[in-house]
Amino acid sequence: MDPLTIIIAAPLAAAGLVAVIPGNYRFLIRVIALLATLLSAAVAIWVFAEFEPGASGLQFETRSVWVKSLGIGYHVGLDGVNVGLVLMGALVAFAAACVSREIAERVKEYYVLLLLMAGGILGAFLSWDMFGFYFFHELALVPTFLMIGIWGRGDDRVYATYQITLYLSFGALLVLVGLIAVYVQCGANTFDMVELHRHVAQTPIPAAAQRWMFPLLMFGFGVLVSLWPFHSWAPTGYAAAPTGVAMLHAGVIKKFGLLGLIRVALPLLPEGAREWIPVMGVLAVGNLLYGGWVAMRQSDLNRLLGYSSVAHMGFAFLGLASLTVLGVTGAVVVMIAHGFLAGLNFALSGYLRRVAGTTQMDRMGGLLDKVPFIGALLVMAMLAGCGVPGFANFVGELLVLFGAWEANKTWVVVAAWAGLVVGAVYTLRAVRTILHGPLRTELATVADPAGAWHRSAYALLVVALLLFGVVPGLLIARIEPDAKAVSGTIATGIEMKAAGEVGSIVRGAVAAAGVGVRQ
Amino acid sequence: MTVGLNHYLAVSGLLFCIGLAGVLFRRNLLVVYMCIEMMLAAASLALVAFSRFRGDLDGQVLALLVISVAAAEVAVGLALIVAVCRRGLKPTADELAGMKL
């Protein structure tokens, strides 16, 4: 069996296996879940290592036809963009399975759904068939809703479930309409993205159609990634979600939307992208600044992390909106780094919630004395979150800022302000309130997780962040050629257009700015 | 004067409307059932008339099926009314309000 299919199939098969095991064999269920995600992660590491940077075409490719008349098939493969994402997704899934020890009731159902989420999203990352791309994502998304509803926490749980379900279903629906529109307008009678790219290179989709299709995809994918102002499901949902789900969703599943923009929206609809990119830039800056400001005022750690995750997505959007090699590369690095970071953050906050009984920051204090390990990791995670060098986030954000500078200097200045200053304000406040200061008496019994095994999940994520932060070449060598391809598609168009008519760009920008104002 | 298709259809339509009025305005469920039967008969009449004026028998076959459906429907419906009465309810439309949300 080829490695990519193993990555997808291991969690899905394990989900099937767990489903038939009686629910009281909890230990067995846990072991199966851990082994399956570990297998995925191991294979993902192996393909990441074996991946040949810069080689043309997909690697480890497998395809087979499913519905011939519609051109739907199973087509998985690796390029520079998804190879890192798959690695990140598999590792975070493993960590999420590790920290799911906290689940006490309906363990079997929990693991079935968690494994479905993991397998689904890895499948979505690997798929090169639009149908599979969408289908696998739904496979991961639907369990999220159920899990927040069933194993969620807090008084807001039901409302959060409704909200996240409605928002994300709405986003996914827009995406679906957009994808079908792409399929129909393209006229190539195939859902295969590689062939679509090839087809579009010969016969582009009519510009008029692109102009209405791009916003469909942009806002659809945007809602899935909490593009401002469609973000409010994120903090509420993550505050209510069980730890493993928050890790997987914030860290991994959310990146699907960005991948969709890179895979479908930008390369297939370059004309539409040019019209709408200014809007995306403005909204990205909205994510950054607004998310940061709101995060400053949160008193609940999980909500703070939710808003900070909204803010970080701003960097990814900004990178894509820049349409430069630097920016797109940076956006992908941000996606991967934020995956690890969000996984780590929510794992830590889940641990704190378990031992301290709350995520209200003002009800914690001085915890560093009691939980030096978790505390140290939290400090590291927070520093990574405000873009300190040494962590992978810094590399991504730096590339995005450099890449976007040519596109729009104001965005970059605001983004740098939001990333460097506002980001530091809320992360340091969190560290100050939770970890520093005198220890609160009611927290005297709090302690670190005992034993190396129980610490490994957290350590794994930090190590990944540090590794890619110190040796960014590992990621960048893989990403850059494909980022160049993505930005190149549109850049060539820009040159052609510049030769033709400049006026319509101006008009488009004005129209786009109008839309931005209305937003 | 000859009797044309329209005449039959007029009778059928009027009968149908009378039945419909009964269904809408009478509240004794038994009478409502009778009115439904009447509407079915009106439909059969229309079918037979079409069959005659088209010159094939398919309409009559359909009318035959309608009659069997009507019979089956009456059997089940009356059984339902019996069940309703067993529960101590009057067989009127007003009492059966279980479909309220």
């Binding site: 973000h231 030096p372 520093h436 | 007003d94 479909m99």
Partner: protein, 633 residues
Amino acid sequence: MPAIEQLVWGILLLPLISAAGITLFGLRRPRLAGVLSVGAAAGVAVLSLLVFTGTPFGEWWECSAEWLSVGELNVPVALRFDPLSLTMGLIVAWVSFVIHVYSLGYMRGDRGFGRYFAGLSLFLFSMLLIVLAGNLLVLFIGWELVGVSSYLLIGFWYQRPAAADASKKAFLLNRLGDFGFLVGLLLVWSKTGTVDISELECKLALDPGLLGSLATAAGLLIFCGVLGKSAQFPLHVWLPDAMEGPTPVSALIHAATMVAAGVYLLCRVFFLLALPGSAALELIAWVGAFTALLAAVIATQQDDIKRILAYSTLSQLGYMVMAVGASSVSQPPVAAMYHLSTHACFKALLFLGAGSVICAVHHEQNIWRMGALGKKMPVTFVTFLIAALALAGVPPLSGFFSKESILASVLESNVAARHALFAVAVAVAALTGFYMTRLVAVTFFGPERTQIAGQARESGMILTIPLLILAVPSAFAGFWGIDSAYASQFKGAAVEHAGVFGRIAAAFTHSPVATLWGLGAAIVGIVTGLAVYWNAATDRLPEKLGLVAGWARNRFYFDELYAALNEATHEFLSRLADGVDRWVISGIMVRGVHGSIELAGRLLRLTQTGNIQIHAVLLGAGIAILLLIVLRH
């Protein structure tokens, strides 16, 4: 020089390995942590000396390793060894080595011993990265990392709210400055296409108009970073608070090295600041002068021994920044670097001495609760006195030479109002003499004001030996020709060498006006200080000066001003955004959609009476409507 090229990576890697090793294995093992960290510092000290001696005078070379390369952005880890970085690196390495040793004694028995040394090693790594960086982005990375290690070390005693708050404040204000620095970098990169220092220098030398009208903006944006890191006005407020950290940290980071990195950066990119048509230098000079004066005035009215030194550091940093600002292409900022080097030695010594005093009086820091410590702690006293006199600019101690060269460079500068600048510089020199005299007189002389001051004893060898070591350069560094080392950076190897006496004479012959003014100011300061504070029981100055002293005592209310400003702007915006999120987006939009759908549902539900006939009626009406619609066509 293959041998040296391999060695230099050791300079960076040793402290990094030490930091990682301690974090992984040494947090609970103090002995291991101490050995690793001090070993790394010693290794760095030796290596830096080897590299320094191995590089011919006045020459420079580079080595680099691949790090980050995307599209047009190429950022190798480039190290640049020129007189500037070599001399600075030597000073950083040796001062930190001495302070590492001192810390072994000072921090003994602390629960966070391992954590402390991990932070110190991380700091050493990042500081060396700044010093050796041949690439502005790599320099920026070091810049950020020293901020982080400073954050970790100021908040070392995180249980104390004051320390925790101070660490946060320091990091945030630094971040403000870094923001400007980063934008400046982006500006420079977009205009010149490179962030490599050598390449940038070449490009700008070939085409001085490359930055066009943005030259001033680029210079000032980079200067923003200096405002934060070197705590210049208006971002100066974090440095005094940073004294909440352990004293050796104050000595190393917040006196000798990190805060001086700003001045180093200015000299590093001096070619950029001094571009024709750029007005950056003039503004830099005035910011420095204002900071120097402001901090010196505040220092005269502080009671906490470390805070006095902190304000003195601020003042001296302002002095150096002013010196850079007063420089020009024809008169490079040698004086600033010279003063930076001597200041690193004697200010570190002052802090270490203060640490020794603080240990002796059981962590009392108010100088008015000390007194008469001179006789009880002879070693500390003598070394402290040497450093204080050096700071005040008394010949022939090191500070005299560096300060005179600054005064001379200000007087000869191209700045429009150079006489006003010179007046400020002289005033600051006088104030420096005054507050140092106050500090020494109150702490080491006079009556024993409290019982603990009476019981004080000299600290152990592990604390005093570093004092003695640092006393040597504090006293004699003026004779070692540090300035000519720096001068060779800007003028090549053709720098005249002078003997010991030649140097003393040169100070007077080269620019007698400046030297005499400076010397006079120091004497005036010291004499006034002695007159006011000799054997004083309480501070008599507030009665005489009234309002000014009160303002100085309260640090001119900058903290309160900034708190109000922050509240009015950033916090306000944040509150506004939160309100919008809570009431508009979550409230009106999300809950509004939710609510209107629910309302519609409730309305429609009214039609669902459950009465079969009503349903039948509606069914009939529906069919009627459909028929109407269909048959209309």
